[in-house]
């Protein structure tokens, strides 16, 4: 008589990872865990970010940082304007996990994770270049996509899209507020 084994889906396994992460850090270190479209997103506090990623890499075998980027929620949220997003891949367990950090616009910085994932180096430069989110402790925090003299950070929602060099950098009209 074959023993009945429970088959865990990827979402179950990822939620277990999130649960173990919560046990490792603390209850209040994790803001929320969301499941959407078969993908699991863990939002952690900024002060626990490096600790969380270190744990996920060493203990949960998420060896690879696939992408790190940011999102500007300027017109959609009041408290925290930016989300910095880290996409992790576990080659051992064939799992993908998303880790988010919320950042206020008047306090826009995140700690570097270069010493955990060396591939974060260009991604964090891009976060600085495009969103103006400072990356504390980065070994070479320069602009990566635009040129050094570029004013502002073009992926912010209040950057004037049609600006050209030589023109004054004016904020776009407030008509975007309507939607």
């Amino acid at each position: 008589m074959a023993e009945q084994t429970q088959v865990l889906t990827d979402i179950d396994r990822l939620l277990q990872v999130a649960e173990r992460l919560k046990n490792f850090l603390s209850e209040e270190a994790i803001e929320n865990v969301k499941v959407h479209n078969g993908e699991v997103t863990v939002t952690v506090k900024r002060e626990n970010l490096t600790e969380a990623l270190q744990y996920l890499r060493d203990e949960e075998k998420f060896e690879m940082l696939v992408d790190a980027t940011a999102v500007d929620y300027m017109h959609l949220r009041n408290e925290t304007r930016f989300d910095v997003v880290y996409h992790l891949l576990s080659l051992t367990h064939r799992l993908r996990l998303r880790v988010k950090v919320s950042v206020r616009s008047d306090d826009a910085w995140v700690p570097t994770v270069c010493h955990i994932y060396p591939s974060a180096n260009p991604y964090e430069r891009e976060i600085w270049d495009m969103f103006g989110i400072h990356v504390e402790g980065h070994p070479n925090l320069k602009r990566i996509l635009t040129y050094d003299e570029f004013p502002g950070h073009p992926l912010r929602k209040d950057f004037p899209l049609f600006w050209q060099p030589g023109q004054p950098l004016e904020k776009p009209e407030e008509k975007f507020e309507e939607w």
Partner: protein, 205 residues
């Protein structure tokens, strides 16, 4: 103005030179038989009318220039794929003497700006143009190089004529190889009527 026919002797050989002036028909009538023979013997390169439009020496120089346009390799985006197709066997840019794509701007005559040029790339574009020896020409290939195209934003130069003087604009997104060949032929037509030293007066912003 009258056509001046100057006869000189170089290396013991009599040379006749005509300079432009009158209307074409009058000039042809006024040419004497000897003049025609000299032109027929020494200058089998272009039509007589073309020679008389710009002068014999200039016509010869222009003929040499326009039939061996060496492009500088400057592929920026998807237009470069069409440029490569233009070089390939089906469209064969070699029929127009422009098949020698040079990796070094020092050896190039014409820069085909194929694709959108970002503001980060603009100083490099200008530098490569400056490194090309005179005489030199620029073809803006495609909508993006001509006017920015769909990329109306902070990152893209809205037409490379802000950076370098453009001789021929080739429309299309991307232009077909036939279109680029037409642009090259238009450039050849333009060179045909150029005066020596004319390129030096081009405005560079």
């Amino acid at each position: 103005m009258k056509v001046n026919i100057i006869r000189t002797t170089i290396d013991g050989r009599e040379i006749t030179i005509a300079s432009p002036g009158k209307a074409r028909g009058d000039v042809l009538e006024e040419l004497d038989e000897e003049m025609r023979q000299v032109i027929g013997r020494n200058v089998l390169l272009a039509k007589l009318e073309d020679l008389l439009n710009v002068g014999i020496v200039q016509a010869i120089v222009n003929w040499a220039k326009r039939n061996s346009l060496w492009p500088a390799t400057f592929g920026l985006a998807c237009c470069a794929i069409e440029m490569m197709a233009t070089v390939a066997s089906r469209n064969d840019i070699a029929r127009f003497g422009a098949e020698v794509f040079r990796g070094s701007p020092r050896q190039a005559d014409v820069m085909i700006v194929s694709g959108r040029c970002s503001w980060k790339m603009a100083p490099i574009l200008k530098r490569i143009y400056d490194q090309m020896p005179n005489p030199k020409w620029v073809i803006a290939m495609g909508t993006c190089a001509s006017c920015g195209g769909v990329f109306q934003n902070y990152a893209i130069v809205q037409g490379v004529d802000q950076i370098v003087p453009v001789d021929v604009y080739v429309a299309g997104c991307p232009p077909r190889p036939e279109n680029l060949l037409h642009g090259i032929m238009m450039l050849q037509e333009k060179i045909k009527n150029e005066r020596i030293g004319e390129h030096k007066s081009k405005e560079v912003p």
